[in-house]
Each structure stands twice: as structure tokens, then as C-alpha cells.
């Protein structure tokens, strides 16, 4: 097995026993990226020089016996994270030349541990999309089948791990943007509870829903990365000041007494037959591991997509008002005065999906429509959140599919935005409820595409989520399959 196929934990062990140096590792991953970028398009920007300098520093730290858990490990982050001195585009033409003046807190925490950042990963423009086709830098291709989407919006974060270009990455998840691409690319992805990880320096899309999380080859690696980035940050007033448990220590505890809830609204007609079969098999695995499986109900599930596309677009229209061609980003030439400069810069700088969401959000917040759209959606959000809290009276975690189908084909849904939105039906409710969710590989379709299982945990109970997912990995080997690239 080559170095680039190893897990974060295996690589950590090799570094700490000095079997390999961080510089060697960094070079190995950089050459893997060079060999496969053309097929996958997972990266927007590579930071080779900075990465090699960081690797040399990490090797000194390892030699001095001063290593943190991530010291010397190559990683990459979605291009939504500000990275000091490195271009940060959010996959948009409007930020194509933006060089961030500071690090996002999550990035700073990785760097403090001595992690080596290889580059910035492709994504849907401003994280708005479910297929990575809205990127101004071209779509990411699925490493399992280049004719299929990698999922979105953290498509590069998932595809890079699946293509062995990095052992793990960071993404963000507003309506499924970590879990859905993780599922489509056959890797593990965790969306922590809203408030668990600082969003300081993460370019905002929908501020009441956005959350940072890890993607990796296995659950233990996700736990390792979450451990590094979780916790209160004085620079993000929505990050919650709660103690961060030892996620790795909790992994080994068994499943005795665990109750798994199956929300009946998620097992519906229209679910792809291969997905249905893989999820049913996963339920049997859990029964075999001693978990008790109970049926629960999340009665407002069918309203989640409508609720989300009002709240997320309203928040987006407000957040994206900052791109005005004044302080940073693209400024249109030849504008007639200030107002025209705003309108032309935004008209030229944003792609079609971003404009669509700004328009919807502006409409939903506009005078005379606020109560009918935005306020109503916030009230429905209360009902959806209540559904989850009630379900958790009867079980410890919920088990569902991640997406109704495996990865669809490039171009298949671009003509119909509503069909694209509906592909997030199983992930969106978790963001509205503000709790945590994890996607892990649980099968393969007849066409050879990965299928993901979603586990949903109680608010701030990532430890249970990770433990339950880890137990599944110990009993199966779906997570060991690598893309034929």
C-alpha cells in the first residue's frame, strides 16, 4: 500500500516513529496531486512552497520530541477558509484574486499543531450547490466515475480524500455540504453541532446554519481532526463555551444498550433501490452489534427543503451584500457612478446559482413578504427542531440514508434548480435542527458508486456519533475501498 493510501492515524504513527519524514510525506502527496488533479479538479490553489516549509518545521518539531497529534501531517481545506497570504476564492470570480489577510481559527488551530496545508479545495461557489458544478473553477469529478458529480458543496474536500490526494480535509456544511459529498465519494464526513467549531474566518453563506467539519478515510481520523478544531473561540460569538470531550478515547466503548432510531419519513418511495438495500444491511449490522433499533417519527421532514431555501437564501442575501467592489474583490470597470459600480461588479462577479439565491433571499426579506416567507420559515424551523428533540427521547442516534441516490451525472440536474435542491432532503433537516450528523460508507451501487449512511446525534454529542460510526467500521470494510484512479 502506498503512503498516500494510508489513514491519518497510520501516517501519524509513521511520522512519530520517524519511519518517514514530513517532507517525504508532503512530496508524496504533492506528486499524487500533480498526477491526478487533471482528472479530479479537487484543488483550486496549491501551496507547495509553504507546505514544504511547514513540513521542514514539523520535522524539526518531531525530532525535538515536541510533536502535537497533527504535526507533520498533510491536510487541505475548502477554499472557503481564510488562509493568511494564500488566495482564498470561495470558488467565485468575485474573489478570484483575494488574498486573505488572516487565518480562520480552524486553520490556525491546524497550523498550531504543525499540520502541513497542501492547498485550497474546490467547492460550489460560496458553498451554494449540491454537485460542485457552480464553481467558477470548473466542476470536481467523482474519483469513482469522472462522468459523475463529487457532490457539493465541499466536493473538493471529499474528492481529494477519495483520490488519495490528502489523507483528510476540512469542509463546511450548511445543508449537507460535508455529508453529501462524503457519501458520493465514499469517505467519512462529520458535520458537528452548530456552535461546536469556530466559524471565524470562514466566508459566510447562511450564518445560522454554517458549520465547519472534517472529512477523512475513517471515523477515528475524523475524531482526530475534530479534536483539533473544536471548542470555544472568543472571535466567534456563536461558538459555544462547552468542554470538548476526548473523542478518540470514547471510540472503543461498545454499543451495549444503544438505541438507534429509524425516522419513518426517511424511508420513502423514491429512494434508490441500491441505497435502500445498503442502508437496510447497515441496520442489520447494528442489530448484530447489540444495538436496539426503534422506529421514530420526524413529522415535519417534508417541509425542511422549503424552510431551508427561505432561511439560507435570506441569510445569504444579507451576507453577500459585502461584495460591493469597494474593499476587496472584483470591481467592474467603466461603471457610471457608485450605484452602477455596485450593480455591475456584483452582476459580473457572481455566478448564476449565487445570483439566484441572492434574488430569492432578497425577495423573501423584502417589504410585504417578510412575514409570509422568512418569519414563517423560522417558525417551521422550530417545529423541525422540536421533532428531533422529541425523537431523541426515544433513541441515542438516528440512522438514515445520506442522499436519495448515489452520485448523479454531471449536468443531470443543472437545468432544474428545484430538483437539485431536493437532493439534499435527508441532510438539510439536521442543519435546521442545529445538531450533528455524520456520513460513512455503507455500500456500493450496481454501477460501482459509493453509498453513504447518515447517523444523527443529539446536540453536542459528537462523541456518541463517532463511537457508533466507529463500531460499524470495525464490523465492515466499506471504508477500506479505494477509488479506481
Amino acid at each position: 500500500m502506498s503512503l498516500t493510501e494510508l489513514s491519518l492515524h497510520d501516517l501519524q504513527q509513521q511520522l512519530q516513529t520517524r519511519a518517514v519524514s514530513s517532507v517525504e510525506l508532503t512530496r508524496a502527496f504533492l506528486s499524487r496531486i500533480a498526477a491526478t488533479q487533471g482528472q479530479v479538479n479537487a484543488f483550486i490553489t496549491l501551496c507547495e512552497d509553504q507546505a514544504l516549509a511547514a513540513a521542514e518545521a514539523a520535522d524539526r518539531r518531531l525530532a525535538a520530541g515536541d510533536a502535537a497529534p497533527l504535526t507533520g501531517l498533510p491536510l487541505a481545506v475548502k477554499d472557503i477558509f481564510n488562509t493568511a497570504g494564500v488566495r482564498t476564492t470561495c470558488a467565485s470570480k468575485i474573489l478570484a484574486d483575494y488574498v486573505a489577510p488572516y487565518d480562520a481559527t480552524a486553520v490556525a488551530r491546524l497550523k498550531d499543531q504543525g499540520a502541513v496545508l497542501l492547498g485550497k479545495l474546490n467547492m460550489d461557489e460560496f458553498a451554494m450547490g449540491s454537485s460542485n458544478e457552480t464553481s467558477a473553477f470548473g466542476a470536481v469529478k467523482n474519483p469513482w466515475n469522472p462522468a459523475c458529480v463529487a457532490g457539493g458543496s465541499s466536493g473538493g474536500s471529499a474528492a481529494a480524500v477519495a483520490a488519495c490526494q490528502v489523507p483528510a480535509s476540512l469542509g463546511t456544511d450548511t445543508g449537507g455540504s460535508i455529508r453529501q459529498p462524503a457519501s458520493h465519494c465514499g469517505v467519512v464526513g462529520l458535520k458537528p453541532t452548530y456552535g461546536r467549531v469556530s466559524r471565524y474566518g470562514v466566508i459566510a453563506y447562511a450564518s445560522s446554519l454554517d458549520q465547519v467539519g472534517p472529512l477523512a478515510r475513517n471515523v477515528a481520523d475524523c475524531a482526530l481532526l475534530l479534536q483539533a478544531v473544536a471548542g470555544h473561540d472568543p472571535l466567534d460569538s456563536t461558538s459555544v463555551d462547552l468542554a470538548v470531550p476526548d473523542y478518540l478515547a470514547a471510540l472503543g466503548e461498545g454499543l451495549a444498550g444503544l438505541r438507534i432510531g429509524l425516522p419513518r419519513e426517511y424511508f420513502i418511495a423514491g429512494l434508490d433501490a441500491d441505497v435502500q438495500k445498503a442502508v437496510a444491511a447497515a441496520i442489520d449490522v447494528y442489530r448484530g452489534l447489540g444495538a436496539e433499533v426503534v422506529e421514530v417519527s420526524l413529522p415535519h421532514t417534508e417541509y425542511a427543503v422549503a424552510c431551508y431555501y427561505l432561511i439560507a437564501t435570506a441569510e445569504a442575501s444579507s451576507n453577500l451584500a459585502r461584495y460591493d467592489g469597494v474593499r476587496y474583490g472584483l470591481r467592474a470597470e467603466a461603471a457610471q457612478g457608485l450605484l452602477d459600480m455596485y450593480m455591475q461588479s456584483r452582476g459580473q462577479g457572481f455566478g448564476a446559482e449565487v445570483k439566484r439565491r441572492i434574488m430569492l433571499g432578497t425577495y423573501a426579506l423584502s417589504s410585504g413578504y417578510y412575514d409570509a416567507y422568512y418569519l414563517k420559515a423560522q417558525k417551521v424551523r422550530t417545529l423541525i427542531r422540536r421533532d428531533f428533540l422529541r425523537a431523541f427521547d426515544q433513541c441515542d442516534v438516528l440512522l438514515t440514508p445520506v442522499a436519495p441516490t448515489p452520485a448523479f451525472r454531471l449536468g443531470e440536474k443543472t437545468a432544474d434548480p428545484l430538483q437539485m435542491y431536493l437532493s439534499d432532503i435527508f441532510t438539510i433537516p439536521v442543519n435546521l435542527a442545529g445538531t450533528c450528523g455524520l456520513a460513512l460508507p455503507c455500500g456500493m451501487s450496481g454501477a460501482g458508486l459509493p453509498i453513504g449512511l447518515q447517523l444523527v446525534g443529539k446536540p453536542f454529542d459528537e462523541a456518541t456519533l463517532l463511537r457508533v460510526a466507529h463500531a460499524f467500521e470495525q464490523a465492515t470494510d466499506w471504508h477500506r475501498k479505494t477509488a479506481p484512479l
Binding site: S208, Y303, R346
Partner: protein
């Protein structure tokens, strides 16, 4: 129709987006389909439901009023399309 071309044109101005005529037409159809779909929420009686703005209630996240460094003028202006005398430069506003 949930939304007309004229309404879409007005929203584009509110959103400060210069859009070609063809894009306004496409958007009208797409926004109409999406707004018809979100009407689904009208099936629910939410008169007595308290709205949720944030799932995790954080109130009054205050800190001590201590001085700390900002990023400084050079960094703040580094990405400006044009800057002059330590300020962001914009097209003339007052004739």
C-alpha cells in the same frame, strides 16, 4: 404566477445586481417554480409557534472590554481595487 418579470426586475435593483434581460426572464421562471414549491409551508398552522433564529441559543456573548490589536491599515487595504491616502477609493458620489 407567484412573481412577475417586473417584480424580479425590482428585486434585482434591491439586491444591487445588474442582470441582462435574458437572465431576468430565466430567473422569473425559476423563482416562480421555487416560490410555488415553498408555498408548501402554508399547509402548517404556525400562528402560535415561536420562530427559531439560531438552533443553539447563545445570548449576550460578552467579553471584557480590553484593547487588542487590529489587522492594521496595510493589510486592510491590501485587497482594495483602488486605495488612496490610506482610504478605499470609490467613484465620485457627489457631483
Amino acid at each position: 404566477m407567484k412573481i412577475s418579470l417586473e417584480q424580479v426586475r425590482k428585486v434585482a435593483t434591491l439586491a444591487r445586481l445588474a442582470l441582462p434581460e435574458e437572465e431576468l426572464h430565466t430567473l422569473t421562471g425559476q423563482m416562480d417554480a421555487i416560490l410555488s414549491y415553498v408555498d408548501k409551508l402554508d399547509e402548517l398552522d404556525v400562528a402560535d409557534i415561536v420562530p427559531t433564529a439560531h438552533a443553539v441559543p447563545v445570548e449576550n456573548a460578552l467579553r471584557a472590554d480590553e484593547e487588542c490589536p487590529s489587522i492594521g491599515l496595510d493589510k486592510a487595504l491590501a485587497n482594495a481595487p483602488t486605495a488612496v491616502n490610506g482610504c478605499f477609493r470609490v467613484p465620485r458620489v457627489i457631483e
